[in-house]
Symmetry: C2
């Protein structure tokens, strides 16, 4: 209801804006009839035709024959050309780093994994390893493709303006300018590489599930990660949260049990201490097992394991209720081990402590993109400049895979 | 990062969009030099000149002489004409309803109050009373002014699409179509009245503080109301939350103390049961007093009153920490009695349980608009159609105050 940041619009900007919208739709849907593009964008048929031709001339899109229409002519279906532009996506996990080369439309050309020792993975080593993985990925890529961006996921608190990693607890990194270090390393390895963007793992998972997964087409989605820590990506009005610094979604440190255990953050009874992986192992009396073992025992009818999962699900329920009351989302995607707790919730259809109006609207969903959702999200932020201004970004891009 | 809803832009739309931006700036800043408008909007000087002239021709804006510039000529300062267009704003409180007639730029022409008995204030009576107050307000308004909207604040859970009041606990209203009832009542009293919009009191307070108060110019603001209940308006990217139904911000029912007292909502240990007015009275052992009495006693050094406020401030701190971790706002405005708890917080500069990165960014502020912030917010939503499309809305408006 209150105006966003001031922004001037010129005729050229409208054209770019519309080219961007068409490209973004094609990127997320794949091949689609012109008629569907007309209804998705609200643009008229001739404008869509002109814009698609421009994108085809630029090599981003081609038109294939679609289903035959009523008057016997096959309709034209624009589709994104995966080999035209590519990005690299990396996900720094606790004990491995995953990389992928991904084309327009989301096609994965190559995926690669490099293991590391958690306690020895210093930022300098990580940056060097990623630059070297980038080298291998590009060599396996489609000849002639233009490299338009690199996205990197880190499990940590990351400034959305600078890509500064304020803290990544599992790696014990603090105030590391990962984005800047990677830009420098890439510039040493490659000529004119595109920019690197660093994002938080939960935020990227949320973006991926909204573009291609369980939150597709929704305006208001929460994506919860469940592991040792609990994170949350918030998609709001179809985009990431516009917050003070990019630190929103630290739901793992929402205090739900002030008389509970101390959390590593310094507070007591954080949601993470009640529903993180350690809480499950503790409740099940299996401190040295992993969560899968507890889940399997419960499925085999082990009473203590069942009770442990019910107990933790009770805390999951309370925190979900808080998020529903505060944010009134359309969809909450339960990621990681949280998806396996859903059967143990008192009500599978929504948190029992939420007020009725918001509770009747929310849908609890399971992730659809598997363990690579974060990596896919990293590719989406790397594509973002292209999807925001396709021809301008192509024009500025200087890095092309050798044919 | 992900595209918002599809929207086509034409040349006429750009012009309207820019007229809207100029009008919105003038509405919130009042008289301002053309140069400042240029830098605020990012439009060039000649475009600003053309648009201001269009608004002046429509009677919404006039240009006055501003400070004399370096070359000795006074600069021109466009200002909104308060007498050109007006809205009516109403706030339904527990024991009274307040109404105001407000002109472009926020000038209050007339304010009126009607008392009611809380237990006898049925929706039909409220609607009748408001329509009658509207009659009096319009008679006192500037002759020739065009009435462009009506905004109404209700303390309750309100669907943002339909204006349906799902529940207003203090009035014991449930599923009352207040917006529809008011539109009908206005149409019986007046010829061609503009539309009525109903909003939640905390959301409206947040909007008012962002447009004219402690959150001015900020993108990410929480406004907390503190009374028997605790509400929260969330402004995000400079606008209200785009949530599933308009129910976000029910922070009063965030569970912070699962072993605490039962809340009227059915849950246990809601934030409202720990920091609402009743919690203060309970902690101070003064169940029949009001909060002001406890505050005064504490200022006089009464040990039990001081301890009570410290105890409640501890719970305030925990809930604020949760909101900072989840939403990473720039500003939190502490409204109602919560502003008087600030001196009793462990750290006056931010919640102690929040993670450092988000905590170092948040500012705790006191409201600047006094007890009428909600009423002002109701006027802002009533002005919204005009501010979104000034000339189009003028063109469609049929209701003018008799000269």
């Amino acid at each position: 209801m209150v105006e966003g940041p001031p922004r001037a619009a010129t005729q050229d900007e409208i054209r770019r804006h519309n080219l961007a919208r068409i490209t973004r739709h094609l990127h997320s849907t794949g091949a689609i009839t012109r008629s569907d593009l007309v209804s998705l964008t609200g643009l008229n048929r001739s404008t869509v035709g002109t814009l698609v031709s421009e994108l085809a001339d630029a090599g981003l899109v081609r038109e294939i024959a679609g289903p035959t229409g009523a008057i016997g002519r096959p309709s034209l279906m624009p589709e994104p050309i995966a080999e035209s532009v590519v990005v690299m996506a990396f996900e720094i996990r606790v004990e491995q780093t995953v990389g992928a080369l991904i084309g327009l439309g989301g096609k994965v050309f190559q995926r690669t994994v490099a293991a590391h020792r958690r306690d020895r993975y210093r930022p300098a080593a990580a940056v060097k390893q990623i630059a070297s993985m980038a080298h291998g990925l590009l060599q396996a890529g489609p000849g002639g493709a233009i490299w338009v961006g690199t996205g990197v996921s880190v499990a940590g608190v990351i400034n959305r303006f600078s890509g500064l990693v304020r803290i990544a607890p599992n790696l014990e990194w603090r105030d590391i300018p990962v984005q800047e270090l990677l830009d420098r390393a890439m510039a040493e390895q490659f000529r004119d590489p595109p920019a690197t963007t660093v994002g938080n793992d939960a935020d990227l998972g949320a973006i991926a599930e909204v573009v291609r997964g369980a939150g597709r087409g929704r305006q208001s989605v929460l994506y919860l990660t469940g592991d040792v820590g609990i994170g949350c990506g918030i998609v709001h009005a179809g985009a990431g949260m516009v917050d003070a610094g990019g630190y929103s979604g630290e739901v793992g440190h929402m205090v739900v049990n002030p008389s509970g255990l101390a959390c590593h953050c310094g507070a007591r009874g954080c949601w993470e201490t009640e529903i993180g992986a350690d809480a499950i192992l503790r409740a099940a009396g299996m401190p040295d097992a992993d969560v899968r073992t507890v889940l399997a025992a419960a499925q085999d009818g082990d009473r203590r394991a069942v009770d442990a999962l019910r107990h933790v699900a009770g805390w999951l329920d309370i925190g979900l209720g808080n998020l529903v009351n505060i944010l009134n989302p359309e969809v909450i995607v339960l990621g990681g081990h949280l998806q396996h707790l859903r059967p143990y919730l008192a009500h599978g259809d929504g948190p029992s402590s939420a007020l009725f109006a918001a509770r009747e609207q929310v849908r609890l969903r399971l992730p659809e993109l598997g363990e690579d959702s974060t990596l896919i999200g990293a590719s989406e932020i790397a594509f973002d400049p292209l999807l925001g201004d396709p021809l301008g970004t192509l024009h500025r891009s200087r890095s092309r895979i050798a044919s």
